[in-house]
């Protein structure tokens, strides 16, 4: 099952490529070039997945992930960070801030799709476990 993904990416061409890939998998892709507006959108209605760039105008990817994790309902929200800054310390910082998966640009399309599927499956399992516990 696929759902809604919020893609936060200021490079129009890259956003277009990811949108193309995910929409073919059945995702509804919501593209935002600006961090601040994207965050508002996410807060308004939690998506099933967030794909996040690190270097963004308005609000950096690191700030966005921290603010997402502050909202209780979105503690488990899968967040995939895609960045051209692939240094070790960037990865560490991102993971500490709460990013679920960290990938560097340029990426292979297949890898991104695999990652998205993995994250989606984990979220589905979590949801199922949550429903069973509740039942």
């Amino acid at each position: 099952m696929t759902g809604r993904v919020v893609l936060i990416e200021d490079e129009a061409n890259i956003a277009e490529a990811i949108r193309f890939l995910l929409s073919r998998e059945g995702w509804r892709v919501d593209v935002h070039g600006d961090g601040a507006t994207a965050l508002e959108v996410i807060r308004a209605a939690a998506p099933d997945l967030v794909i996040l760039d690190l270097m963004l105008p308005g609000k950096s990817g690191m700030e966005i992930i921290r603010e997402i994790r502050e909202v209780e309902a979105m503690v488990d929200l899968p967040v995939l960070m895609l960045t051209a800054r692939g240094q070790h310390k960037d990865r560490e910082m991102a993971e500490r801030a709460g990013v679920t998966r960290f990938m560097t640009k340029p990426f292979a399309n297949a890898e991104v799709l695999t990652a998205v599927r993995d994250l989606n499956a984990q979220a589905a399992q979590r949801r199922a476990r949550g429903a069973r516990d509740a039942g």
Partner: protein, 896 residues
């Protein structure tokens, strides 16, 4: 035969003459008209002759009769000092003058931090050492009078009565002429002139007796020599050890004896007199000693056995019925004795009153609140000094009465000499060794004097106190403590033995304790002043300009110096300071001067204490401590060299630190740059890769999509190329390896080319406004590079200008040296916070990428700099505005 009456008459007449001369000299000096000869080196030299006392006058002949040529050592010591050590004496005199020293005790006290303990110690030791010497003089007078009395059976002669009256008379003389002025630094002209007159009398008398003996009695020089050979004197062998020891003692005593210090330093008029005295005084000694051996030889031959050889000078003429000569000889001896007693009493009394009486009085009255301003110090000091003279004279008289006057003159003289010599280490050390400390001086004096007392004074003078067993077996049967064979050193003459041990222990204790102890700031200060007296004849320092009451100081000074003198001194100080008031400011300099002035009257320690009562606060300031350091020229030089080195070092360290910082910064910048470059390269590459994979994996894609994605790949590839080009360009520009092609072209042409290039293929129109008439300036520069800058700026305006109808104004302002080109658009301009960074690499203002990596302006700046100009953002305009400044003449050669 000369009757006692005549003798008394002549004596009284002679003494009256002395009184008159002294009185006259004092009067002259007081009126300020003292004759030139009174201040001449001759008088100075003659006054030094108080070294030759009755012991020399009578005793030398006795000495020669008993010990042959050994008497020469007594003259050899001072001669060696005067000829070989005049520079040391000069230092002593300079110190004495600059520090207003009043006595030898004062000197040591001042040198070792104005220590009163030391002053008291030296004073007591001087009194102990000199008292027997004074009684020796009294004894010589009585002995000589007794000679005449023997020959005059008509009169009964009361020996002790004579001594008493002589002592009283001498005390009166000393009190009259020695305590006339309170200020010890004002010379006692009366006393000095009287002493000089007496010096002439004793020389004339001895030489007259000598001539009479040689040519009258013996019948010429050859006969005298033959008779000397025949006499026991001719058979005397020189004892090397004694010779050295006694020469040393005489030299030491010549410097250390209080009366010698008095005439040599305190009464010194002019330091240069020492230069004359350096040969004149040894000549005097030579003259006064030359006839000693002939007189002794003939005395031994002609006088009946058992006659006292000490009195040959007197008895030989009497034997020959030469009454006139005998009378002259008597006067010579009398002169020797009286001059010594007067000066010795004077110098001792200064010490006793300044260092014992005054401190006690100060302390006792201090309890009743401030001695400095309440009592009449002047009269107290005068009384103390007069009382001290009387006391010293009384002591001498008492000693004479107790000892019975039996011992040979020479023996007492030598004992006295070796006692006084104990001061020498502390004195010489103080003058030449900055490391000498008060504790060291005290230790040296203590060990030296106790050894002297134990090994020489007690066994010789007060033998009654010892049981004979103590001498032969040591106290309590301790053999190594035998007074005359200390630590088992036997076979030495008592004098030799005493000098050896006392000086060894003295010097050792002085040096060891000095090295081990730490001097107080005042000691260091004074030590520096003494040792470097020739470099700095400045004051002793010690007072800081704390709130001293000038009025109190004035009152106190009046009590010590006397009203007129104190007022004159204060007035002079006011004039020096140039102040308006009747009283001077209590500056440290003034306080120092005042202290020195007072110390001349009451000694360094007392003066220090009295000023200290008024001037509260620390006695030694940081400035003084710095002054100590300043004293030593070498130290200064050394320290400035060190300082220079340390400055050099710290500069090098700073440079290193800066270089290191710069390197770290450069390294960080390089890392940041690489990281930026990597990011900028990855971004277009991501698009290229993603879309090429899409195209590869989706062959069934619609044609329009295929075309669109291929276009994206193409655009991003172009972006990559552009980026790489920019990077290369920038790196070449920054490294300075760029080659510029200088040519001449009008600015107008350059701008035409730039506008055309920048706007070619632009998707929206940019209106460019120019004033061509002002652009007709011919530039000599790299035209292509300059065009590159303008293209960049115009393209920026075209891309980023926010206006709906974008316009660009290009304004050219030529001047003599340079030309400015302003490019202003009508957009929103660069936001405030970015204006400073727009010329940095990778700085971008707009969020939406316009295909630039943020290197354009950085490249522009580098180019303009290479061209010798400048580029900056113009504040105060609504739109984005840049100003390019260029030199009209090419400066490119210089830049490169």
């Amino acid at each position: 035969m000369t009757s006692l009456n005549l003798l008394a008459l002549v004596s009284i007449g002679y003494v009256s003459l002395l009184f008159l001369v002294a009185f006259w000299a004092d009067r002259q000096a007081l009126r300020g008209r003292s004759a030139r000869f009174m201040r001449s080196p001759l008088i100075y030299t003659l006054s030094l002759s108080i070294y030759c006392t009755a012991w020399t006058f009578y005793g030398a002949v006795g000495y020669a009769a008993r010990s042959g040529l050994e008497y020469v050592t007594i003259y050899l010591g001072p001669t060696l000092v005067m000829i070989g050590w005049w520079w040391g004496l000069r230092k002593l005199v300079r110190v004495g003058r600059s520090q207003r020293i009043s006595s030898i005790a004062d000197l040591l006290s001042a040198r070792y931090g104005k220590s009163n303990v030391l002053a008291i110690g030296v004073t007591l030791l001087a009194v102990i050492g000199v008292t027997p010497y004074i009684s020796l003089q009294l004894q010589s007078i009585t002995l000589s009078v007794a000679i005449f009395a023997e020959a005059d059976p008509a009169r009964s002669y009361n020996e002790s009565g004579t001594v008493f009256w002589i002592a009283t008379g001498l005390a009166c003389f000393a009190i009259l002429f020695g305590t006339r002025n309170l200020n010890a630094n004002e010379r006692h002209h009366g006393v000095v002139i009287a002493v000089a007159l007496e010096a002439v009398v004793k020389l004339v008398a001895l030489v007259a007796v000598g001539i009479f003996v040689v040519w009258g009695l013996a019948g010429g020089l050859p006969e005298v020599l033959a008779r000397i050979d025949a006499s026991p004197i001719g058979r005397w062998q020189v004892d090397g050890g004694r010779w050295v020891a006694i020469t040393f003692l005489a030299a030491a005593a010549f410097v250390c004896l209080p009366r010698m210090f008095q005439v040599m330093v305190v009464e010194n008029e002019d330091e240069r007199h020492l230069r004359i005295a350096a040969w004149a005084f040894p000549t005097y000694l030579l003259l006064i000693s030359i006839f000693v051996v002939p007189i002794a030889a003939l005395g031994l031959e002609l006088m009946p056995a058992g006659s006292n050889p000490d009195l040959f000078v007197l008895t030989l003429p009497l034997l020959q019925e030469q009454n006139g000569l005998a009378m002259l000889s008597f006067l010579g001896g009398f002169s020797s004795a009286t001059s010594m007693v007067i000066v010795a009493a004077m110098s001792l009394s200064t010490m006793v009153s300044n260092h014992i009486v005054m401190p006690i009085w100060l302390r006792s009255t201090d309890a009743f609140g401030g001695a400095s301003v309440s009592g009449d110090v002047r009269s107290v000091v005068l009384f103390a000094r007069r009382f001290s003279i009387a006391a010293v004279m009384g002591l001498g008289y008492a000693y004479y009465q107790i000892s019975g006057g039996g011992a040979a003159l020479a023996a007492i003289g030598l004992i006295s000499f070796s006692g006084i010599a104990q001061i020498l280490p502390a004195l010489v050390g103080g003058l030449f060794w900055r490391g000498a400390t008060r504790a060291g001086a005290l230790a040296g004096l203590f060990f030296g004097f106790s050894t002297w007392g134990y090994t020489l004074l007690l066994p010789e003078v007060a033998a009654g106190l010892f049981s004979p067993q103590t001498l032969t077996e040591g106290p309590f049967g301790l053999g190594w403590l035998r007074p005359q064979a200390l630590f088992g050193v036997e076979g030495l003459d008592p004098i030799e033995h005493c000098v050896l041990w006392s000086m060894t222990l003295n010097v050792a204790a002085f040096c060891i304790v000095s090295v081990a102890s730490f001097p107080s700031p005042m000691e260091r200060l004074q030590g520096a002043q003494f040792v470097h007296v020739f470099d700095h004849s400045a004051g002793p320092g010690g007072w800081t300009g704390s709130v001293a009451q000038s009025e109190d100081l004035m009152i106190m000074s009046q009590r010590i110096l006397g009203p007129e003198e104190a007022q004159a001194f204060f007035q002079a100080a006011v004039e020096r300071q140039g102040g308006p008031g009747p009283l001077p400011e209590p500056t440290p300099g003034f306080l120092e001067q005042l202290e020195r002035e007072l110390s001349a009257s009451i000694g360094a320690a007392a003066a220090h204490a009295m000023i200290g009562q008024i001037v509260s606060g620390a006695a030694v300031s940081v400035e003084d401590l710095l002054a100590v350091a300043d004293e030593s020229a070498q130290l200064l030089e050394y320290s400035s060299r060190l300082e220079a080195q340390s400055v050099e070092l710290s500069r090098t360290a700073r440079q290193l630190r800066e270089t290191n910082q710069k390197l770290t910064q450069i390294s960080e910048q390089k890392d940041a740059f690489l990281s930026q470059v990597s990011h900028e390269l990855r971004t277009p590459m991501t698009s290229v890769r993603a879309f090429s994979e899409i195209l590869r994996d989706n062959p069934s894609l619609a044609d329009t999509d295929q075309h669109r994605y291929a276009s994206i790949i193409h655009d991003e590839a172009l972006r990559l190329t552009r980026l790489l080009n920019d990077l290369l360009d920038l790196s070449v520009l920054e490294s300075g390896q760029v080659t510029l092609n200088v040519s001449r072209r009008s600015l107008s042409d350059v701008l035409d080319h730039a506008v055309a290039s920048a706007l070619a293929g632009a998707d929206r129109a940019l209106q460019v406004h120019r004033d061509h008439s002002r652009e007709e300036v011919v530039l000599e520069t790299d035209v292509d590079r300059l065009a590159q800058v303008f293209i960049n700026l115009i393209a920026n305006a075209q891309k980023y200008c926010t206006s709906d109808t974008p316009e660009l104004h290009i304004e050219v302002t030529p001047s003599d040296q340079q030309i400015t080109i302003d490019l202003r658009d009508n957009g929103a301009g660069v936001p405030e916070g970015f204006r400073d960074v727009i010329f940095e690499k990778f700085s971008r203002v707009t969020p939406e990428r316009a295909g630039g990596a943020g290197l354009g302006l950085a490249i522009c700046r580098e180019i303009i700099r290479r061209l010798g100009g400048d580029i900056c953002y113009l504040h105060g305009h609504s739109g984005a505005a840049f100003r390019v400044t260029l030199p009209i003449q090419s400066k490119i050669e210089e830049i490169r």
